[in-house]
């Protein structure tokens, strides 16, 4: 590993209760996760000099201020850095990459990445639903919400590679199996899910059934990134980011040369992150791979090169990505069974940090040293990869 990349470390993680409905204000939830992550790190607000992403604090006095200045005013401290998040709610894993960069370059010393979805989540009245039709002239007249793209991706993957509904279902089944071991997962008490349950659930965006789709829920999470030097004297064993990369391809599905990949030509962000980290696939002990819909990890595992293009279905079906398999994936229960609130990539990073610290309880991957996160925003086609390692 390059020493330069060890300049920054993740030192604090926190997530709020995740639930269908929290009856909290977004502000209150945001404040909770900020305080929680700092407490986990053993730092105070005075240590923080950077944030990434927008924050719901701006809802007081609509349009007054920009994220950095609003944060500074609310928390009574000065900010040296305010990185842009993906969207208002999505200060997630991509946000973390920007926090790492800020610390690596010395632009900031300690950076917070936080997400809080208590109002503007999917399907919440008055929120940005993504399941409805907006004024988009290329989709709305035809009754296609952006999330419907995933049905179109799935159908093409089935056509080109023979991927089956049962293989898609296996992603949801694995997630549920892991969620049963994680008290924080919203589906923790729902009992196991079978392939039959998934394929017999009602159709939503054919070929995707109800249980192929992530739930609509609320919750928040935050992480703290600081310098490796500072990390040495803090409470927890630091987690480093060995490699990270992003890729951006297009806004809409019809601009892509192929729709069986999310991550640029040849799995761009994955290749770059592996090269930067100087590790190989067999070094990855645990992975968190975005699963807004069950088709996603199948495509992402292929893009990342854990299996050949087209073999994501059989790969998942083999049990390789279950706890006890060669690379357990989504050990917290994934977006499908743990939480899909706000910028859910934040929970991927939180889970990897817990696994690498050895704090994952019943779902702990024994001696997890290196973890990988891959996330997609396949409705605005982009991807990111981050490879994390314990100190």
């Amino acid at each position: 590993m390059s020493e330069a990349l060890k300049k920054a470390a993740i030192v604090g993680v926190y997530q709020s209760v995740q639930a269908r409905q929290l009856n909290r204000t977004p502000e209150d939830l945001y404040i909770e996760v900020v305080k929680g992550a700092l407490q986990d790190a053993g730092l105070t607000i005075k240590d923080v000099d950077g944030i990434v992403g927008a924050n719901p604090l701006q809802t007081e006095g609509e349009g007054r201020g920009i994220p950095g200045s609003v944060f500074a005013e609310y928390f009574g401290t000065h900010m040296r850095y305010a990185g842009q998040g993906l969207t208002a709610t999505q200060a997630d894993a991509m946000g973390m990459l920007h926090a790492i960069e800020a610390v690596n370059t010395g632009r900031a010393h300690t950076v917070l990445v936080a997400t809080a979805a208590a109002r503007s989540g999917f399907g919440v009245p008055g929120g940005d639903s993504g399941q409805g039709v907006s004024g988009d002239q290329w989709l709305s007249p035809f009754g296609l919400p952006r999330v419907g793209y995933y049905g179109i991706f799935a159908r093409r993957h089935m056509h080109e590679y023979g991927t089956t509904s049962a293989q898609l279902a296996r992603v949801a089944v694995n997630d549920r199996k892991h969620a049963l071991l994680n008290p924080a997962a919203i589906m923790h008490s729902r009992g196991p899910l079978t392939v039959e349950d998934v394929v017999n659930s009602r159709m939503i965006y054919d070929p995707l059934h109800l249980f192929d789709c992530s739930p609509v829920n609320q919750g928040g999470g935050a992480i703290v990134v600081t310098t490796a030097e500072r990390a040495r004297s803090l409470k927890h064993r630091p987690v480093h980011v060995l490699g990270f990369a992003e890729s951006y391809s297009a806004v809409d599905i019809f601009h892509l040369p192929t729709i069986t990949s999310f991550d640029g030509p040849g799995g761009m962000s994955g290749k770059e992150a592996f090269a930067m980290a100087g590790v190989s696939h067999s070094d990855i002990n645990v992975a968190q791979i975005s699963d807004h819909f069950t088709i996603n990890p199948i495509i992402e595992l292929e893009d990342l090169g854990f299996c050949k293009k087209g073999e994501g279905g059989p790969f998942v079906e083999s049990g390789a990505v279950e706890l006890g398999g060669k690379m357990p994936m989504n050990t917290n229960g994934g977006y499908l069974s743990h939480s899909h609130a706000g910028g859910p990539g934040i929970y991927d990073i939180i889970e990897l940090v817990r696994q690498l610290r050895g704090e994952a309880g019943a779902r702990q991957v024994p001696n997890a040293r290196i973890g990988l996160h891959h996330g997609v925003g396949a409705t605005f086609i982009s991807a990111q990869t981050a490879i994390l390692a314990r100190d």
Binding site: V133, G143, G151, I152, R155, I204, D206, L208
Partner: protein
């Protein structure tokens, strides 16, 4: 006659010629004046050669079903009555892809790769929509 309740296209100045074309039952896309490549959706520059000069060229309207989803959850009350309906990603002969609906086709006959052709629906006095049907 009941009013058309579904969302109508809201063109920008750049996309207005496309929707004007649909109104005249034509599929017009931008053709780069420099490298001759076609592009859709409308942009002020060619992503292949960055030229900003273009003309509007008609497409054949013939293509194939590249992929699709059958919508079983309605995104707005105005679509409730249509459920289940097909949203198609169509690849036109000229290589351009478009999202639309596949109509006049029983659900059990829908197949990736099936030949399709454009059809037009004059949904209001002012607006028309393009859709695809089995060819």
């Amino acid at each position: 006659m009941t009013q058309y309740q579904k969302p109508l296209p809201e063109p920008s100045s750049l996309t207005q010629p496309f929707w004007d074309g649909v109104k005249q039952h034509k599929l017009l896309v931008q053709k780069c004046s420099s490298c001759s490549k076609l592009r859709h959706t409308p942009k002020p520059l060619c992503p292949h050669c960055l030229s900003q000069e273009f003309t509007w060229a008609p497409l054949s309207g013939q293509g194939q079903l590249y992929s699709y989803t059958v919508m079983h959850r309605s995104p707005a009350p105005s679509f409730d009555g249509d459920l289940p309906y097909v949203v198609a990603l169509v690849e036109l002969k000229e290589g351009i892809r478009m999202i639309s609906n596949l109509v006049h086709c029983p659900l059990d006959k829908v197949r990736v790769g099936m030949p399709v052709k454009v059809v037009y629906e004059d949904v209001t006095k002012e607006a028309s929509i393009f859709k695809f049907a089995p060819a």
